[in-house]
Point group: C2
Chain length 119, copies 2
């Protein structure tokens, strides 16, 4: 596994366009190093990209994903910020649990339809 990547390598690996990756950078979700003019992605950037795509699959907006991702790099010292972070985590958790329940409900519905059809 190399430890740096070009934009097209990542694009191919995750099956997205380079335009998409640059767009995530425009939105400050990804901030790769530069080799002169060219972008150069670290393995950490690659992990972030994976997180972004995971967030997208569950229906989060890029703004929401940025909020979640930023939790990783949040200040580990100031008490007030910590409280705010914990609150946000709780909100996200509640939302995710609602989504999980929604998904389970839909899965049950699909099961019902499947059974009623194969009769």
């Amino acid at each position: 596994m190399p430890e740096t990547f070009t934009i097209s390598e990542l694009a191919k690996e995750f099956d997205i366009t380079t335009r998409t990756i640059r767009h995530y950078e425009d939105q400050r979700l990804l901030i790769p190093q530069r080799d002169g003019q060219h972008r150069i992605y670290s393995n950490k950037d690659r992990v972030r990209l994976r997180l972004i795509l995971r967030g997208k699959r569950v229906g989060f907006s890029l703004g929401e994903i940025k909020e979640i991702i930023d939790m990783y790099d949040s200040p580990q010292g100031e008490a007030k910020q910590t409280q705010l972070l914990l609150t946000k985590i709780q909100q996200r958790r509640a939302q995710l649990q609602q989504q999980k329940k929604d998904i389970e409900d839909i899965l049950h519905e699909l099961e019902r339809i499947e059974k009623s059809v194969s009769d």
Copy 2:
């Protein structure tokens, strides 16, 4: 529980605008009866609306939601249509299970952050 509803009653109940409900009708996700000029929603319509909003919460587009909802009212006779329907159900199921896994992964990540913060 009344058995019919006005558009604003449903809007208030589900905390959405009437514009949103009419938009769902434009996209053929909802087709209420009419009392002359006015829309009149049955309890079945109300259930459909609930399904629509559930689909939205998990990140489906209105088009995708329509596909899923239409599975309910799918032809219960033609064999070929049935096969196609079963295939679609399988695809949706796979997608939903991936989403469920994504959500569980994010929940775990949030847990990790929470612990590392409260140390």
